[in-house]
């Protein structure tokens, strides 16, 4: 985990933020969480269309899985109701588990695909699930040193 951060921090130190591109939500299927797969034109020169579209599509399937209403979520809901929702003190909801998977996926995508191209995806949950933020860095060319990560934003405090 530390080495992965070092790579991303090298990116940060050697580059400066040029702009941020926002991928908005796609509400055409209702209130489920989906992001638009339309490719933003500002990223034309930075990344191949298919890579970003694949990432967004995979994220959309993850979100669909989190919000899926099937047997498992009903069981979870009924069990929680029966225990007066105390069970959520001990157990993570299905949604939270999928969100963790999504965080891991985004980090992996950042390391493999986006950081080498000077881009950085921000997990939508940190933006209130409104947008997917793609930070575009201008590479300064100077060799950054790998410093450890700075203070975090309170980590995984979940409600």
């Amino acid at each position: 985990m530390a080495t992965e951060f070092h790579n991303l921090q090298e990116l940060r130190h050697s580059a400066s933020l040029a702009t941020k591109v926002f991928i908005q939500r796609d509400y055409s299927e209702g209130t489920v969480c989906r992001f638009q797969t339309k490719f933003p034109s500002e990223l034309d020169s930075r990344i191949e269309r298919t890579l970003l579209e694949d990432t967004v599509k995979t994220l959309n399937t993850y979100y669909a899985e989190a919000e899926k209403m099937g047997g498992q979520s009903y069981m979870e809901g009924c069990l929680a109701c029966a225990t007066a929702y105390i069970i959520f003190l001990c157990m993570e909801t299905h949604y939270e588990k999928v969100l963790k998977k999504i965080s891991g996926y985004i980090q992996e995508q950042n390391e493999k695909i986006y950081a080498p191209r000077g881009l950085l995806l921000t997990d939508p949950i940190e933006r209130g699930m409104r947008v997917m933020e793609v930070s575009v860095f201008e590479d300064r060319g100077s060799s950054g040193s790998s410093l450890s990560s700075s203070a975090t934003s309170g980590g995984s405090a979940q409600r």
Partner: protein
């Protein structure tokens, strides 16, 4: 979390190194020693927080305490005065069932009142600027700027998404801005003063279970108190029965008046759940067939059973506002400290700007921005990434200031729509107190004075900031090589 331990000594080291480089005295130890603020302390909405951010309620909680007192007193009287007689005369199952109902009512009440209803965090300055750019691009052909709405087709129905001027976002479908709490809430149902909170996506099921169980409890107590009085009057005569159990009279009165409103409310919400509508939509008649022959509810699943299951047993989304997370110290902008940087509350930035200089702020910007990398499971709120790095263009930020007055009118209408979200059953007192109605517009241009000061004092020059950043990076590189 473990990164904190690693980061702090490094950061101390960096700060002290920077202070030797530059000539300005840095209150570095002071900065590091200020206690970290939690995000709830810097929350821009009008909510009250308790237990260090674990509990979240609306600002006016007086009626909630009334609800609590009514339930506790009536149930207390029932268990103390009526249950002994009834458990002996009839069956001890009565206090047991009553007890279970009572505990369930309180549990769901607390869950409704204390949890996050589904508040949507406000847009970061970058997002707001980007949206502004898009909106101004659309209206660049010179005619009057279009009203800030977006249309989207959901399941064949055209839905208008409105732009919220306070939160600077386009509201998702079914979201609405609560003027009492000054937040956009997802799947906003209504603001309930009886539970002291908004009712939205995350706590609607608890609210429904609360009113349902309270209906059962009220009917239960009503029925058994009447039974108690009747049984006693067989023994002693009606008047002496009443004299011997005066509590029963009080209970009957409270229950009688509550039953109509609460049972009515439960029935109304049962209808709403089965048709998958919110109170908001029902009152406005958004999906009523009176609006047009082709008007139907695009969110409904088609059958009552699925709608009910979805509302009550569906997945519970986590809170989007990270109440107990820590405010990152990078939220201060590298401009004069008096600038209230963020367009929403400026409290968090001011506290951190106190001891910082532009150079150090830039540095903290870069470093803590790394902290908000994906891969951390932090549910970031409005504070993460609030700093506009690398040149936030000012013209877009000045636009809302100029047009904010003219835009007040549609916004006021939105907020008044929000105020009208009360139950048609009359179970709730009208909470549209006159002093509350005008207050939201007063709150609204919270962006504008900030924005004005932003432009007046001279925003930071992106180019100079970049050079500062370069210097600091080079400085750090030198240090680490030593």
């Amino acid at each position: 979390m473990l990164h904190l331990g690693v980061a702090e000594p490094m950061r101390d080291c960096e700060y002290s190194q920077i202070s030797t480089r530059s000539s300005t005295p840095m209150e570095t130890p002071f900065k590091k020693r200020t206690p970290k603020r939690r995000k709830w302390q810097a929350f821009p909405g009008r909510n009250k927080f308790y237990c260090d951010g674990r509990i979240m309620m609306a600002r006016q909680t007086g009626v909630f305490y009334l609800t609590l007192v009514l339930i506790l007193v009536t149930s207390g009287l029932f268990f103390s005065f009526d249950c002994p007689f009834l458990s002996v005369k009839l069956t001890p199952a009565i206090p047991v069932i009553g007890g279970v109902l009572f505990v369930f009512v309180l549990g769901t009440l607390f869950r409704t009142s204390f949890s996050d209803p589904g508040v949507l965090p406000r847009a970061t300055p970058d997002e707001a600027a980007d949206l502004e750019k898009q909106i101004t691009n659309c209206s660049s052909s010179g005619y009057r700027p279009p009203p800030r709405t977006k249309e989207v087709v959901i399941n064949g129905q055209t839905v208008k998404l409105k732009y919220c001027f306070t939160c600077k976002i386009f509201r998702p479908p079914r979201a609405s801005h609560c003027s009492l709490c000054d937040n956009c809430v997802d799947r906003f149902d209504h603001h309930c003063p009886w539970v002291g909170n908004c009712v939205g996506k995350r706590n609607y099921r608890f609210f429904y279970l609360f009113i349902l169980s309270l209906s059962f409890l009220t009917i239960f107590i009503f029925a058994f108190v009447i039974t108690h009085v009747i049984l006693r009057s067989h023994q002693e005569g009606f008047l002496s029965a009443l004299k011997n159990s005066p509590a029963s009279v009080l209970e009957v009165v409270v229950c009688f008046f509550s039953v109509w409103s609460i049972v009515g409310l439960s029935g109304f919400h049962t209808y709403l759940i089965s048709s998958n509508q919110t109170t908001n939509e029902d009152i406005k008649g958004s999906w009523s067939s009176k609006r047009g022959k082709d008007n139907y509810n695009p969110y409904s699943y088609g059958n009552i059973f699925t709608n009910c299951c979805a509302a009550l047993c569906g997945p519970l989304p986590p809170s989007l506002i990270n109440r107990r997370g820590f405010v990152e110290s990078d939220t201060s902008q590298p401009t004069p400290p008096t600038n209230g940087i963020t367009m929403y509350g400026s409290t968090q930035s001011q506290s951190h700007m106190a001891a910082a200089t532009p150079l150090m702020q830039t540095e903290t910007v870069i470093l803590t921005n790394e902290g908000s990398l994906p891969g951390r499971t932090s549910l970031g709120g409005p504070c993460s990434g609030a700093l506009p790095l690398g040149g936030q263009p000012t013209p877009p930020t000045s636009n809302p200031n100029l047009s904010s007055d003219s835009d007040m009118l549609p916004l006021r209408k939105d907020h008044i729509d929000g105020l009208h979200h009360h139950h048609t059953d009359g179970g709730h007192h009208p909470f549209l107190t006159p002093e509350e109605a005008p207050s939201p517009p007063g709150m609204l241009p919270c962006g504008s004075p900030v924005g004005h000061s932003h432009t007046v004092q001279g925003f930071y020059n992106p180019a100079s900031q970049d050079s500062l950043h370069e210097d600091s990076v080079r400085g750090l590189v030198k240090l680490s090589s030593v």
